[in-house]
């Protein structure tokens, strides 16, 4: 299976048009000698974002949530952390690593548009903003665009970690793996994605081969739509609304269908994409250390 595409901009050409040299002066032209010394290159946050958007070959997404949540596009990047959620712990870890730029897949302030006034006088939002300011950390969300890479880099990273790339066609979340049973599949998923606990609907002894992997929380409509259209043996999701997809699967089974469901948890279902982002981005950004942090989930299962 092909990796997510980069467009034709070479690293050298990008640096020659947008990097800032060690002295901090913006250059419109960089001599070949300097361009070869990419370790010396310094980028602003905005230049890193522009590079990602150009390399991804994306069309603009109207009203995208992929915006800065703190800090500044002008900040010189000292290091990058990729993660699912820029939690308080992730912010502190980034600061310890000397990284001032966090690329997070999900919201920073607990709502999709990251409106800090979603709930008035939110003390947790205020403290988090203060902490980000104290550490001079810029957070950018990389959500709408990373899902538009071809193939979707979150899907690709997850399928890769599940060791299913040989069965992945890139244009569909549905793939056929060698026949197994639901119990063995659950164990494989837990081990591959480092998940301690998850929820399942189905008979653990039932055979399965056709899998639809829908990471994150794309909504019940999309989850049920894929279940109806692709008719997988197992639908694997990150998160769901219980009254939508879970009840649909329960009724489907009570009506005789063998479709099963695995709910991974939001973080674990998409984290492999933010891990894979390091592999995708690092070769395009020599000289800037990119570290992935799996923020885990906060739950105690009882």
């Amino acid at each position: 299976m092909k990796k997510p595409a980069s467009n034709s901009i070479t690293r050298r050409r990008f640096i020659s048009t947008s990097a800032i040299c060690a002295g901090g002066l913006a250059l419109t032209y960089v001599s070949p000698a300097f361009a070869g010394n990419v370790l010396a290159a310094r980028y602003t946050v905005q230049q890193v974002i522009d590079l990602i958007l150009k390399e991804g070959g994306f069309s603009p997404v109207p009203n995208t949530v992929d915006t800065l949540k703190s800090g500044s596009g002008d900040a010189i990047v000292t290091g990058i952390v990729t993660t699912m959620f820029a939690t308080i712990d992730v912010i502190k870890q980034a600061a310890k690593l000397g990284a001032n730029f966090i690329i997070a897949h999900e919201p920073t302030f607990y709502n999709h548009s990251d409106d800090p006034n979603w709930v008035n006088n939110n003390s947790v939002v205020q403290q988090k903003q203060a902490l980000l300011k104290k550490y001079n950390i810029t957070v950018w969300r990389f959500h709408d665009y990373i899902h538009r890479l071809k193939p979707d880099a979150v899907e690709y990273g997850s399928i890769k970690k599940l060791n299913w790339l040989p069965y992945f066609k890139g244009d569909s979340p549905t793939l056929s793996i060698p026949p197994t049973n639901l119990g063995a599949l659950v164990q494989h998923v837990k081990t591959s994605l480092s998940i301690a606990h998850l929820r399942v609907i189905g008979d653990l002894k039932q055979p399965c081969s056709r899998i639809t992997y829908l990471p994150g929380a794309p909504g019940g409509k999309m989850q049920v739509d894929f279940a109806e259209r692709d008719k997988p043996d197992v639908l694997i999701v990150g998160e769901l609304s219980e009254w939508e997809t879970a009840e649909y699967i329960r009724d489907a089974r009570l009506l005789g269908s063998k479709i099963a469901l695995i709910i991974l948890g939001h973080n674990f279902s998409e984290d492999p994409g933010m891990d894979y982002l390091v592999e995708w981005l690092q070769p395009k950004l020599s000289g800037v250390k990119i570290t992935h942090i799996n923020c885990g989930d906060p739950f105690v299962w009882m």
Copy 2:
């Protein structure tokens, strides 16, 4: 703590204006002799709904989802089942009980407005509609209105089952129970509400007394709003979006707050309300058997 209110309509007066006698003729006047013999009264679905709405003393809710999902308002009620989800199993159990009217708190067709075309050509919806027709079962959703009883009957039923009525003031989901710790609280909640598994964020040894109980899935905005305003030791919810309330609680704790979270699961958090509905409605509907069915949840926890 006062029970949810009934308005001033007496059973006799309601029956005298809206019941159908054993012979099936609509009466505008019922003699006192007949009105005393309420066991002989027969109701249509619509008359039961009208009785509920009158007894609840509700103002109309614009665009309510509390509509018929199958069957007919003209059907003569042979028995009533109250439940959270009118699953395929609940429909079959109702039929076995000889009950042709299901009052369900949550959607029947897997989306909030119960649009059968939410997903095109949904085979599960089509089979469920055929089953409801085969058994001549009418489903009515009782969601928007039951939450508007004073106090909210879902909240009241849950607090009652948790044995916390002495601490419940009725106008707030926040109450102070005798001091305990989070681990003991979780065990009490699991036992009281018959929950086998649930998820928690918090330190099981931490003390707690102030509880905010928000059943169902009212959305992260309301959950976080109550957490900020009422500052409970423990927020108990039915269901949440992980990127909203769970991440808010995780960050709050990392910033030093002691707030904890218990996620009950949607069904178990509100089922006591649909159970309590029998107690509220049965005395108003003598002669019609009302049975509660706890539909459980469909999950295997692994």
